[in-house]
């Protein structure tokens, strides 16, 4: 950081947040400014800390499942999937094929709802108010499928250890197919609104560049890494829950800026629809619950499972001491790790770009603070 500022003026320290609408929750960013230029930042987190990992040590394996939904509440289904897969790995069981197919459909739908919420709020931060209404309109349709399937819209608790609790309802396939048909033209509509819009392009192009090397240094994953041109997607790299059966591409960008991250996420929504279409065509018949007893008591050991959540690599590390409660549950939340790169990205940018960069990282503070 430079010692002297422009015209030897004092550097100005201001707080952005914790109640700033563009920090997506309760993130406090202490900005050191030289006029409009950002010299450095410091993130203060923990306003939403609930001690979820500690709660996990005091609950049985099944009881902890609803809590993980409350970390990344925008993508609760992905969180549930990660946790269930980790405990299933400890138990050495695998969900039946039917359960796996349904899990894929629901997590991909959840990826779409998460990206829609990101797109809406990100556009709102930058000043485009229209997309948020359209995004929430389509998100509503997906949430209705969640509600019909498991009875909740946001904190779904859709999966159980070993498979699923709820059998598919009549008309699930039709609803999902109708959603896919409805949704693809809508993505084009968002693109029409934003992609070539001059204000949008000027606000995003070249802002918050984080190269692939830097991403790897910081451990940044998800669309931020892929926008830097690194073709890394855990669904391809280490397939879980039967992802190897589905055909899809990994969208990547070249410029590693905010605009490319936007394009990557738009492409990801299209790829998600592609996966859902393939999965819904061939949902196998059979049981939905694996061989898991009423009391889950995994043998002593530890398991780490990471999945590709909408925001990046979501990992669960569960240690068992052969009792009904986990000895330790450690979560590797994508938002927390991605937030580290904020300082690197905003240095030298303008204050108005900070909002754009926080938006493009797609953080959820429930997950950052846990």
């Amino acid at each position: 950081m430079p010692e002297t500022t422009f015209l030897d003026a004092n550097e100005l320290v201001i707080n952005m947040g914790p109640q700033h609408p563009s920090t997506h929750g309760v993130l406090r960013v202490i900005l050191k400014l030289d006029g409009e230029k950002v010299l450095g930042t410091e993130c203060v987190i923990g306003y939403l800390h609930r001690g979820v990992e500690k709660i996990g040590e005091n609950r049985t394996y099944q009881m902890f499942a609803p809590y993980v939904d409350r970390m990344d509440y925008v993508a609760a289904v992905s969180n549930g999937l990660g946790y269930c897969l980790a405990v299933e790995k400890l138990l050495n069981v695998e969900a039946p094929p039917r359960a796996q197919a349904v899990r894929v459909i629901l997590t991909e739908l959840n990826r779409i709802t998460s990206h829609l919420l990101w797109l809406g709020t990100h556009a709102l931060d930058i000043g485009a108010i229209t997309p948020v209404f359209y995004c929430f309109r389509e998100r509503e349709e997906a949430l209705k499928i969640f509600e019909n399937y498991c009875g909740a819209r946001l904190t779904t608790h859709a999966f159980r250890i070993g498979g699923l609790q709820y059998e598919l309802y009549d008309g699930f396939e039709q609803e999902v197919r109708a959603f896919c048909d409805m949704f693809l033209p809508k993505v084009d509509e968002y693109e029409e609104l934003l992609t070539h819009n001059r204000i949008w392009v000027q606000r995003l192009k070249g802002v918050g560049i984080l190269t692939g090397e830097e991403c790897k240094e910081y451990g940044v994953t998800g669309p931020v890494l892929r926008a830097a041109g690194v073709k890394w997607d855990l669904r391809k790299a280490q397939p879980y829950s039967g992802y190897e059966q589905y055909e899809f591409d990994i969208p990547t960008g070249q410029n590693a800026d905010t605009y490319d991250r936007y394009l990557v996420r738009m492409q990801e929504m299209r790829q998600s629809i592609r996966i859902i279409r393939q999965a819904v065509e061939k949902i196998p018949t059979g049981p939905i619950m694996g061989k898991v007893g009423k009391v889950v008591k995994p043998p002593t050991g530890e398991a780490y499972v990471s999945i590709e959540a909408p925001k990046g690599e979501l990992g669960y590390f569960v240690v068992s001491d052969n009792s009904t409660q986990p000895y330790r549950v450690r979560v590797r939340p994508p938002s927390f790790i991605n937030l580290q790169a904020l300082d690197r990205m905003v240095r030298g940018a303008l204050v108005a770009d900070v909002v754009a960069i926080i938006g493009t990282l797609d953080i959820v503070l429930g997950e950052v603070d846990r």
């Binding site: 609950r59 099944q62 009881m63 902890f64 499942a65 609803p66 809590y67 409350r70 229209t130 359209y134 929430f136 309109r137 509503e140 209705k144 509600e147 019909n148 399937y149 498991c150 009875g151 909740a152 904190t155 608790h157 609790q165 709820y166 309802y169 509509e189 029409e192 609104l193 934003l194 070539h196 819009n197 001059r198």
Partner: protein
């Protein structure tokens, strides 16, 4: 040249405006006029808990097995039971359910072996006092009775 003309004639902005214009149709309205127009929640919706009674004789279906209380992550269910000396079976005496701490995960209804405890489609759970959020057996059997406003 084409790019220049497109910039001058604001093609990108007009394109966006055209999208907004296309979406003016009233059938795209999703807002619910809530108190007047009540939303229809899904069949499996996890809302207010209900303790089912046998419609024929009005007796509770609950067998006081305490499994729901054990399954609850928040320990908010308290089941009281008494052994009936004549029939030699456990009988339910009281049942409290703390709505204020409930996160509607549905583990209690999954655990119930006789489908007595169920999360229903009622979603209006506000009360004027803290004590009002702790539901006793009578409240659980009758269900919430919110005022239904109509226009």
């Amino acid at each position: 040249m084409g790019k220049f003309l497109r910039t001058v004639f604001l093609v990108d902005l007009l394109q966006g405006l055209w999208v907004t214009f296309r979406n003016q149709r009233p059938k795209y309205i999703y807002t619910e006029q809530y108190p007047a127009e009540r939303p229809k929640v899904a069949e499996r919706y996890r809302g207010a808990p209900r303790l089912n009674i046998n419609p024929d004789n009005g007796e509770t279906l609950c067998i006081a097995c305490n499994l729901c209380a054990l399954a609850c992550p928040e320990n908010l269910i308290v089941v009281g039971s008494e052994r009936n000396e004549q029939t030699r079976r456990k009988e339910l005496t009281y049942f409290t359910y703390d709505i204020s701490r409930c996160m509607f995960c549905g583990l209690c209804e999954d655990a119930c072996p006789v489908d007595a405890l169920e999360l229903t489609q009622d979603f209006e759970l506000a009360s004027y006092t803290r004590e009002g959020a702790i539901w006793d057996r009578q409240m659980l059997e009758e269900g919430p009775r919110p005022t239904q406003y109509r226009c």
